[in-house]
């Protein structure tokens, strides 16, 4: 379920940006200063985002169902097995997030306190990404059937606002993806092995040659 997200998210982002291409309304900047236009031609053209609205919609609205089903399956699985306890941060863990982030950026020497299997920043971002998935899904439905699901549109502050939230979610997914990959690479081969197999060779027990789930 974790790995299924990789192709599903890539397909959703790719087809989503093909839809976005047809009306590129946003840029990142402050006041009159525009720092980054979503998206410049040097991104749109090599990635094939241009002039593919109909195909973008067809892929996006088909794979969206798989994305939703996978998300529901994942949520049901973590609830059923109690895995969510490892993921959802406590209030105390939330307070430790800034310190953990500073440490990972190399700005703070003191190592973060281990909250359990995942550290505070991990718990917060992994729970956050599930919530982001929920927001992307709900705002997606609001955009898909705005007349029938007008209550949902109102919750997102109107159709234009739902569009901006849905688009922002896609950018946050990309940022999460980048940080996630960087952190996995930094933490080494054993973490990657654990992501694939579901089993981890414990650091302090590696010498003793025993492994733990």
């Amino acid at each position: 379920m974790h790995w299924v997200n990789v192709p599903l998210l890539v397909i959703m982002l790719w087809s989503g940006f093909r839809i976005y291409w047809a009306e590129q309304e946003w840029a990142f900047g402050i006041l009159d200063w525009e720092w980054f236009q979503f998206f410049p031609d040097w991104i749109n053209e090599p990635l094939g985002f241009d002039r593919k609205l109909a195909r973008g919609l067809a892929f996006h609205l088909s794979f969206a169902w798989l994305f939703v089903l996978n998300g529901l399956a994942y949520t049901a699985y973590t609830a059923w097995t109690g895995e969510w306890r490892k993921l959802v941060p406590s209030m105390r863990a939330l307070k430790r997030v800034p310190a953990t982030v500073l440490h990972d950026l190399g700005l703070r020497h003191e190592a973060p306190v281990k909250a359990g299997y995942y550290n505070a920043a991990q718990q917060t971002s992994y729970t956050g990404i599930i919530m982001l998935g929920a927001v992307a899904t709900a705002s997606g439905f609001a955009l898909f059937k705005p007349t029938q699901l007008s209550v949902l549109v109102t919750m997102f502050g109107g159709y234009s606002s739902a569009r901006l939230i849905h688009f922002t979610a896609s950018i946050v997914f990309i940022l999460f993806f980048v940080v996630h990959i960087v952190q996995v690479v930094r933490s080494g081969r054993h973490t990657f092995m654990a992501m694939v197999s579901g089993y981890e060779l414990l650091t302090d027990e590696r010498d003793r040659e025993s492994t733990v789930v």
Binding site: A58, T81, E83, T147, Q148, M193, G198, S210, T211, V213
Partner: protein, 249 residues
């Protein structure tokens, strides 16, 4: 699962190997599936399976649709004249004095013709709704005209009971749409001839266009030349170019 379970390194290696192989096979299967989807026989310019999902979505949402559910209306102060986004089927000049709508039955038989005054004779309705374009923009705008359901009532007795779609075409035949009957019978589906108290501009579809918040703009045909009541789904300009035939909101 949250309890720790000790494994020997040998068992760990075996499990890891098995996971990598399973993952590799799944990845290959995914790639193969993706390639076969891309290579599937196209159904009007998109892979057939994706067209099937569009049709599945249509079945779901047309079943869920409540006929009495109205789209949100806005104060007219928030509205502006609709942006012109396409000129398919309305590039020629039009002579408003000789223009008329031809009405056809399911077998192509002509049932009647109407000048603008006939449409204006039907009860007047107004709506200020948010128009949505499939390209990703929206705009609150105003439409005034007759309900299509009132127009349909003029012909209902002369038509069979199994009419499911309405096919509308521009006078030059360049642009055409098919719309399901549930949408056409909805109180917010208008044969619009005015907006903001004035005649619709030529580029926005004079003398009469379709206006409904239940469909994207691609279905809201401008400058209607003919209307056919059908027993099946008819042709659709953008449907034939890869878009969803239903295009419902």
């Amino acid at each position: 699962m949250s309890e720790q379970q000790e494994l020997t390194v040998e068992a760990y290696r075996r499990r890891s190997r098995r996971s990598f192989i399973t993952g590799g096979v799944a990845a290959l299967a995914g790639v193969a599936g993706w390639r076969s989807l891309q290579g599937a026989d196209p159904d009007f310019r998109i892979p057939g399976p994706l067209r099937a999902v569009h049709e599945m979505n249509e079945a779901i949402w047309s079943t869920l649709m409540r006929d009495d559910h109205l789209a949100t209306e806005y104060p007219i102060s928030e509205a502006s004249v609709l942006r012109v986004n396409g000129l398919h089927g309305i590039r020629d000049d039009i002579d408003l004095d000789t223009w008329e709508i031809t009405v056809l039955g399911p077998d192509g038989e002509q049932l009647g013709t109407h000048a603008l005054d006939d449409i204006k004779a039907l009860p007047w309705h107004e709506m200020t709704i948010e128009h949505k374009c499939i390209e990703g923009w929206s705009q609150v705008t105003n439409w005034q005209g007759a309900r299509f359901s009132d127009f349909f009532a003029l012909y209902q007795d002369r038509l069979p009971d199994d009419i499911t779609h309405v096919f509308l075409q521009t006078p030059d035949g360049e642009y055409y749409v098919s719309v399901d009957m549930a949408t056409m019978q909805h109180p917010q589906t208008l044969l619009a001839y005015d907006n903001f108290g004035e005649a619709i501009s030529d580029r926005n579809g004079a003398p009469v266009r379709l206006a409904t918040p239940l469909k994207y703009g691609i279905k809201q045909i401008k400058r209607i030349g003919s209307i056919q009541f059908r027993r099946d789904q008819g042709a659709d300009y953008w449907g034939e170019r890869g878009y969803d035939w239903y295009a419902g909101l």
